[in-house]
Amino acid sequence: MRRYWLPALLIVAAFVFPIVDEAFDTLLIYPVIIVAVYVMLALGLNIVVGFAGLLDLGFVAFYALGAYVVGWFASSQFYQVSFSFGTAASSLTGEPLQGIHISFWFLLILAGAFTALCGVIIGAPTLRLRGDYLAIVTLGFGEIIPRFFQNGDDLGGFNLTNGTIGIKAVDPPGFPFLPESLDAWKQFGTLDLHPWYYTILVMVLIAIYVNIRLRDSRLGRAWISVREDETAAAAMGINPVTTKLWAYALGAVFGGLAGAYYGSFIASIFPTSFSFNISILVLCMVVLGGMGNIYGVILGAIALQGLNFYLLPKINEWVHSIGDYLGSSLLSEADIPKYNFFLFGIILVLMMLLRPEGIIPNRQRAEELRGDDAGTGDAMGGAPRA
């Protein structure tokens, strides 16, 4: 029973957090929600990079696809049609709403299924490639998809994505069947963030549970064996291509779910929010925390986003006050948060040089990465191919 103590404690802490936050008036709930979205993304990428050992540099594509699924089916984007289904949005005039409005809860499932399908479509022709070529192909997809959304306002005269203006006024989630007394849960608002918080918390907990179950499953062991030695795995009767495709599809599902949640939370979806930097940021979280270790990855996500939201503005203030004290305009006007990717670059380099297995290492991965004769294996920690 001992090993359940810490997780149970953390889950309880997560559930009471909004109450504590309100009591002490620390206003941390908004950043915590964003951190949770990134935890979700990192857990998804962990399946691809950590478990299966495939480097994916275009993970942001699935995030974008998930967000656009919500944008398309829960806003007035397709104003030509009018279709509502279980939506929390209601029209003020009483006339039927323009565009497609489907309940957020159905869209979550739809986004997951759609991104899984996209993962398979992207993965299927490319998984035969060598590890580094595969990384570049995923990078290519990660660049193409946001650009496609950016140019998608005039596809043969059809406005699919509204271009750089983006899709705005996305419906909030909610449970429209609830009584009036539970107003905040009937339609999630921007003032009371508690429903938003508990939604992402449940999503993250499900993601963690699925991750743990996957790791300990037959498929999880297949991933490890393919990662270590594809040829030997194939000889043991594992089909490497289907195994890798599962990793791609399942990783994509979590990316899509995170994107769908983020899209409705921010309520407006711009193609520029899905840049290459996000792929790298999420990769950084996985590498920093420890590839293949679920708790490490969560810690990595919290640490890096905490750095972004909390530590960098603080350092900025310190540098400014030092600059004011010394009378140096260079220091007092420096914009430290602008250089956060400098930090992420350094984290990637230093982690690979000094501790490639991450803060909380997965024992097996650590041995693979530390192996003296790792050779030129393809997968992360792959076996030598003599």
């Binding site: 650009r147 400098f342 992420f344 380099v349 690979m352 693979e368």
Partner: protein, 361 residues
């Protein structure tokens, strides 16, 4: 054997080849031919525009080819996709700009060369910018290799790739700190005027400048690799590191020299890019680097001729896409080329030299 018989066997071999080919490659060839026909039809309609676009494509292609050579040299020797190479190119353009503005490390060495000082000063400025950028980028590339890649020489390949991505971000942020987030203008040192008489075909001094810098660099590189002792050592290390070191070749030094060469070419192309396009920006290296990587893969990574051919092809594909599809779709077209080549012909058009030579895999 008479000539007729030779032609007969040749045509028979061609038919055999077509019969043996897979459906994938047949479809690919059919698609490429269809695209070429559409393009030529457009060319026949407005030949002037087509030629102008072709020249732009060739000059852009020359810049891309120089960057692609850096990727292909490094990949040929240590099988690493040097992700930071594109950002090295960006640093090259920034160094060139700094030299032209006359300041370095906050010191005012000479007045800014802005194009008002006459032809002699312009030529001198361009040459100085080129040389300084080449030296700085070459040394920077060697330094990056020493610090970031050398300790990981026996690590899994993807670990080194992640390090390279990290270096790319560090360099990009360095550029951001150095010149700020906005586009920075380059002085107009090279005339936009047409060299050729008449208006029908436009070949500007700028285009001549690009060709005039690229060709000697390519000839020099080719001479270095095929005719010098150090070039021979590079080829040997690319084939088999262990055997090369047994023959008394200093492998580490050879790898450093490879990075030096790649950096020199990236520095030169950075300055050329700035002078040709009139602007540069801190993240220019990302897209240009990816275009160049596409070029290297298209030609067959590890293959030097392939990188040059691929560079010109990508330049032309880019300028044609600008004209006939739309500027905003160019990046998508080129990345699609990258994915299609990697998926359907990962060895590239001219063949992956590292694979053929058995260096690595």
């Amino acid at each position: 054997m008479s000539t007729q018989e030779v032609t007969k066997t040749r045509s028979r071999a061609l038919i055999e080849g077509v019969r043996a080919s897979s459906w994938q490659s047949r479809i690919a060839v059919a698609l490429v031919v269809a695209l070429l026909v559409i393009l030529l039809e457009q060319a026949a309609k407005e030949p002037d525009q087509f030629v102008a676009q072709l020249i732009i494509g060739i000059t852009n292609g020359a810049i891309i080819a120089l960057i692609a050579l850096g990727y292909t040299l490094v990949y040929g020797i240590i099988e690493l996709i040097n992700f930071a190479h594109g950002d090295n190119f960006m640093i090259g353009s920034f160094v060139g700009l700094t030299v032209l503005s006359g300041t370095f490390l906050g010191l005012e060495f000479f007045g800014a060369i802005g194009g008002e000082g006459g032809t002699f000063l312009n030529v001198l400025g361009v040459l100085l910018a080129l040389v300084v950028a080449m030296v700085v980028c070459g040394l920077l590339n060697v330094g990056i290799e020493r610090v970031a890649y050398k300790p990981l020489r026996n690590s899994p390949r993807l670990a080194v790739l992640i390090t390279a991505i990290g270096m790319s971000f560090i360099l990009q942020n360095l550029g951001l700190v150095w010149k700020g987030p906005a586009q920075v203008p380059f002085p107009e040192l090279i005339s936009d005027a047409n060299i050729l008489p008449g208006d029908s075909i436009v070949f500007r001094w700028k285009d001549l400048f690009i060709v005039g810098v690229t060709v000697p660099l390519l000839v020099g590189l080719s001479y270095f690799i095929s005719n010098t002792k150090q070039g021979k050592a590079m080829r040997a290390v690319a084939q088999d590191k262990e055997a090369a070191s047994m023959m008394g070749i200093n492998v580490n030094r050879t790898i450093s020299i490879t990075f030096l060469l790649g950096g020199i070419l990236a520095g030169a192309s950075g300055v050329m890019y700035g002078l040709f396009n009139g602007i540069t920006v801190f993240n220019v290296g990302f897209t240009q680097g990816l275009y160049a990587f596409t070029a290297a893969v298209l030609g067959g990574i590890g293959n030097l001729t392939g990188a040059v051919v691929g560079g010109f092809l990508i330049g032309i594909i880019g300028s044609m896409a600008d004209q006939y599809i739309g500027v905003e779709w160019t990046a998508i077209v080129i990345f699609s080329v990258l994915i299609l080549v990697l998926v359907f012909r990962p060895r590239g058009l001219l063949g992956d030299r590292s694979a053929v030579q058995g260096g690595g895999e």
